[in-house]
């Protein structure tokens, strides 16, 4: 027999992610995979393809659409759905606004980020989803560091961080009462670097806006925001053309670009390795208060 193969960290994370995917498919009746078009949800989808090969991914993708997207992200999403023949469910924040479920924020920092939570919860309810796979990682944010793989939500979709179920070994308890559901995070143990290394190793397709490109941007409190129809610019905010890329993809109104000429996977990994700010440092939504993420998560945010 050959010597026991040592598991590389990426192999171990992949095996763990696949294990979680299969637990979800086995323990729940109507799971969905929350798909934003960002790298984390793309990696999750890749793990789902592996988990159920040669079968199809046994659950639909669900996209919560703020209406404030980068077009490249939507194109990519549709391309993926077509290529792999998966079902796509879209929950629209615009619909939630039209139906009076939420009210659009006003002012220069207006964002639909917080509104998404309502749309997300409504869409989960409408489709009677009992488990939503999310690409959240524990290294992203301090409140996420306390998150379980299987995270229980009450009938209001809320998270009670002080009263979480203990999670031991790889025994995931997905038992729930009717109306309750779970958020499941198969890539909990991955870091931003792991995600990029894995994308490179597996040669996974990602949207073009992760690579350096020319874009019209303006600077708001140190963050380069894309000039789109969705953002209300103030008079003194000047639009310039810069070579940028996105390190994280979210709502176009609150996701900043970084000045970068990294146009290959290798350059991106290099850039992530030497980054001096966290990935969410370009996210205005996290900067609203020190506990912005925890507060939103309790409400039912991703």
């Amino acid at each position: 027999m050959t010597a026991l193969k040592s598991h590389s960290h990426l192999k171990e994370l992949e095996d763990e992610g696949i294990y979680v995917m299969r637990e979800v498919a086995a323990q729940f009746e109507r799971p969905v995979l929350l798909f934003s078009g960002g790298k984390d949800s793309i990696v999750m989808f890749h793990l789902a393809l592996k988990a159920f090969h040669p079968g199809k991914v046994p659950f639909p993708l669900m996209h919560v659409d703020t209406g404030h997207n980068f077009p490249e992200t939507i194109e990519f999403r549709d391309h993926l759905v077509e290529k792999y023949g998966v079902e796509l469910i879209v929950g629209s924040v615009q619909d939630s606004i039209n139906e009076g479920r939420v009210e659009e924020e006003t002012g220069p920092d207006a964002s639909r980020n917080a509104l998404q939570t309502v749309t997300l919860l409504d869409t989960l309810k409408k489709h009677q989803v009992d488990a939503a796979l999310g690409g959240g990682r524990r290294d992203e944010e301090k409140a996420r560091a306390k998150e379980r793989f299987f995270s229980h939500r009450d009938i209001f979709g809320q998270w009670d961080p002080k009263n979480q179920r203990p999670e031991l070994w790889n025994l995931f308890n997905g038992r729930k009462k009717p109306g309750e559901n779970f958020r499941v995070f198969p890539i909990s143990n991955w870091t931003e670097m792991d995600v990029w290394q894995y994308i490179a190793q597996e040669e996974i397709e990602i949207p073009s806006i992760y690579f350096a490109h020319e874009r019209k941007v303006f600077n708001r409190r140190g963050v380069w925001l894309a000039d789109t129809d969705f953002v209300n610019k103030m008079d003194d905010e000047e639009v310039v053309t810069k070579v940028v890329r996105f390190r994280t993809i979210g709502d176009a109104t609150c996701t900043g670009a970084v000045l970068s000429d990294a146009d290959s996977m290798e350059d991106i990994i290099q850039e992530v390795a030497s980054a001096r700010e966290t990935e969410r440092g370009t996210r205005h939504d996290d900067k609203r208060s020190e506990t912005a993420m925890e507060d939103r998560k309790k409400q039912g945010y991703f």
Binding site: M1, T2, L4, S6, H7, S8, H9, L10, E12, L13, E14, D15, I18, R22, E23, A26, L49, K50, A51, F52, H53, P54, G55, K56, E141, K142, R144, A145, K146, K162, Q164, R165, P166, L168, W169, N170, L171, N173, R175, K176, K177, S188, N189, T191, M193, D194, Q197, Q201, E266, Q270, A273, S274, A275, R276, E277, T278, G281, E290, T291, E294
Partner: protein
């Protein structure tokens, strides 16, 4: 500060593809400097980003602290930051060019045991923090006990705050001696002591210039080099079926993660609980079929025959099956405010199976501070006890000490659906067993791989025309163990059986010549002989082992090494101690009487007689021939 300059180097060389991963847990309270240590590891390994640093600087300043409080990096929840305590297990990540690390940071104050058990359940290593200015406290002992109970393969005792004791070697040595004294009662196999100052940075990442008397590794260097997969059982193939993939008529695959052992296409397998056998056809992954699957590989197995297999079933090797039983003994940590109710029906989740369970009987509670056993009617939050369970259907398990994946379970309260307990299976229970707190696991030397049997035991048994067994003769010196074993072996030999006789005195020449007669050495003696017996057993022999083996625990351990209960035949050879002293075949009793030796079993050292030996032979009443006949009839 730049984030990981090392990382940049590493990535240009793509060496990250060779990085492995270590999961460790840190135990200690804020006072021990645990959060400071983690902050230090992250800070010195350049894993803290500028914006994170700015945020905690701001918070430290606003709460009036002079120095930057690195603990703020780990205390993530609002309530934790407000109360300056850690409530829940937090997971932290950092990487060096050699390794990725996952820290399960467990709080020291509230919910202590529950969180430590949670963090320990997935850890390869535990760091126990000891405050050099305070020495080994009750809490340190508690940490060590839980680490040993959960069988974390490596322990690091980080003697922190060396700066407060002038970096004095003597203080360090005393703490080491204290800890070792206590650890003797536990089964911890790899303990490393490192003197550090998390606050000043000594021996955490960089070698301290203030402790030139210390020649060992720094903490980070140790974390980077310790063996990672020490807890994997590479011998016994166990594959709990998670999910069945059936895209069409022509493919049916059974998905799961290899819990232990390994498997190849063509290997003969058995499916539990049906007991049906077949052969592995393919090991399917999206990246191509595998030639072999190892522990932790997520794969899909297809088999040659059409057998009905579903989630909760287990695929194992035809000739290496786990215990299948619905009654068993376990350690149980209770994790809920509502105490364990022995009359309530709970749900037990074990591998990919959920069954109903009664926790029938609480044998005792372990006082985690003193390790004493206490009588109790129930188990409360954060208490650990030894219990007996009965499930609605049999489950397929191995003792936790041999296989963590198939030896662990959680208890769920069906009314709330909350996880209320975590258990570690000791053994199946048809008979009541009393096993001590100190248990052993399989020791594995670094960098070795289990070589599977070239020819299976079953094939050997078929050729030899016999069923392999271990006949374990226990009893005091002079009781007649060797005499009976020799006569029995002669009889078996004459009948054409293939036997191996292992005798205590022979083994203590050479192989175990380094061992004395202290309780620990006796235990080690039996541990080695147990493994040796298993090896001969696997080669199809009838093994006759004659050892005083005075401790029940040790004999239970040997038994636990064998696949089926009936493989281990315990023969208690006994007689009146006076008869033994009169016989005194080796002159030991005479020596003991004259004071030349001490610690002779049956004279001035304890012999724990078996309660339920397969056979008991009293040589005051029975001749050698009668004894031999009795054993032959039994086997």
């Amino acid at each position: 500060m730049s984030n990981s300059t090392q990382n940049s180097k590493l990535n240009t060389q793509h060496s990250y593809l060779d990085m492995d991963m270590l999961r460790f847990t840190t135990a200690g309270s804020v006072d021990d400097g645990k959060s400071t240590l983690i902050g230090r590891l992250l800070y010195d390994s350049k894993s803290i980003f500028e914006d994170q640093m700015e945020a905690i600087e701001k918070t430290s300043k606003s709460s009036g602290e002079e120095e930057v409080n690195l603990a703020l990096l780990t205390d993530g929840l609002k309530a934790e930051r407000e109360q300056k305590i850690t409530i829940d297990v937090a997971y932290r990540y950092f990487a060096t060019p050699k390794r990725k690390f996952i820290i399960a940071d467990t709080p020291g104050h509230t919910q202590y045991t529950r969180n430590m058990v949670t963090g320990a359940s997935t850890a390869d290593l535990a760091i126990i923090l000891v405050d050099a200015s305070k020495g080994i406290l009750t809490q340190s002992r508690r940490h060590a006990f839980i680490s040993s109970l959960l069988r974390i393969p490596h322990l690091v005792v980080a003697v922190n705050k060396m700066d407060l004791v002038d970096y004095d070697e003597k203080v360090f040595d005393e703490i080491v001696a204290d800890f070792e004294e206590f650890a003797r009662k536990l089964e911890v196999k790899d303990v490393t002591f490192i003197p550090i100052s998390a606050l000043k940075g000594d021996n955490v990442v960089d070698k301290s210039e203030r402790m030139d008397w210390y020649n060992g590794s720094t903490l980070l260097h140790h974390l980077e080099t310790v063996k990672v997969d020490a807890a994997d059982n590479v011998i016994d193939f166990r594959f709990p079926v998670q999910y069945v993939i059936r895209p069409g008529m022509h493919f049916r695959g059974f998905s799961g993660q290899v819990a232990s052992g390994h498997i190849r296409p063509g290997d003969e397998i058995k499916v539990l609980p049906s007991g049906l056998t077949s052969k592995v056809k393919e090991l399917v992954t999206r990246d191509g079929n595998l030639e072999i699957a190892y522990p932790r590989d997520s794969v899909t197995i297809t088999i040659e025959d059409e057998i009905d297999i579903s989630r909760g079933d287990m695929i194992v090797r035809k000739d290496n099956v786990p215990t299948i039983r619905n009654e068993f003994e376990s350690y149980l940590c209770w994790m809920n405010e509502k105490a364990l109710d022995v009359n309530k029906q709970y749900i037990l989740q074990h591998t990919s199976k959920q069954v109903q369970v009664f926790i029938d009987e609480i044998r005792y509670r372990i006082n985690v501070d003193t390790l004493n056993r206490e009588d109790t009617e129930n188990l409360n939050l954060n208490e650990i006890g030894r219990v007996k369970l009965k499930t609605s259907q049999p489950i397929f398990f191995d003792p936790y000490q041999i296989n963590q994946k198939t030896g662990s379970f959680i208890i769920i309260d069906p009314t709330t659906n909350v996880t209320v307990g975590a258990g570690m299976i000791r053994a199946g229970s048809t008979v009541s067993k009393e096993i001590g707190d100190a248990e052993r696991t399989e020791l594995v030397s670094p960098n070795v791989t289990w070589e599977p049997w070239n020819i299976s035991r079953e094939e050997r048994e078929t050729r030899n025309g016999q069923k392999a067994k271990l006949l374990w003769f226990t009893g005091i010196s002079g009781a007649g163990k060797s005499t009976i074993a020799k006569a029995l072996e002669k009889k078996l030999w004459d009948d054409g059986k293939q036997t191996v006789l292992l005798d205590g005195d022979q083994v203590r020449h050479g192989l175990n010549g380094d061992l004395g007669f202290s309780p620990n050495d006796r235990k080690e003696n039996i541990r080695r002989v147990g493994h040796l017996s298993r090896l001969f057993f696997e080669h199809g022999n009838i093994v006759l082992s004659t050892f005083v083996s005075p401790y029940k625990n040790d004999r239970e351990f040997v038994k636990s090494l064998f696949p089926a209960e009936t493989d281990f035949v315990e023969i208690h050879v006994t007689c009146d101690p006076k008869t033994a002293q009169k016989r005194d075949p080796k002159g030991l009793y005479a020596k003991a009487e004259s004071g030349e030796i001490s610690g002779l079993t049956g004279y001035d050292a304890e012999y724990q007689a078996p309660d339920n030996a397969t056979l008991t032979i009293n040589t005051d009443e029975m001749s050698v021939d009668e004894a031999v006949e009795m054993i032959v009839n039994k086997i």
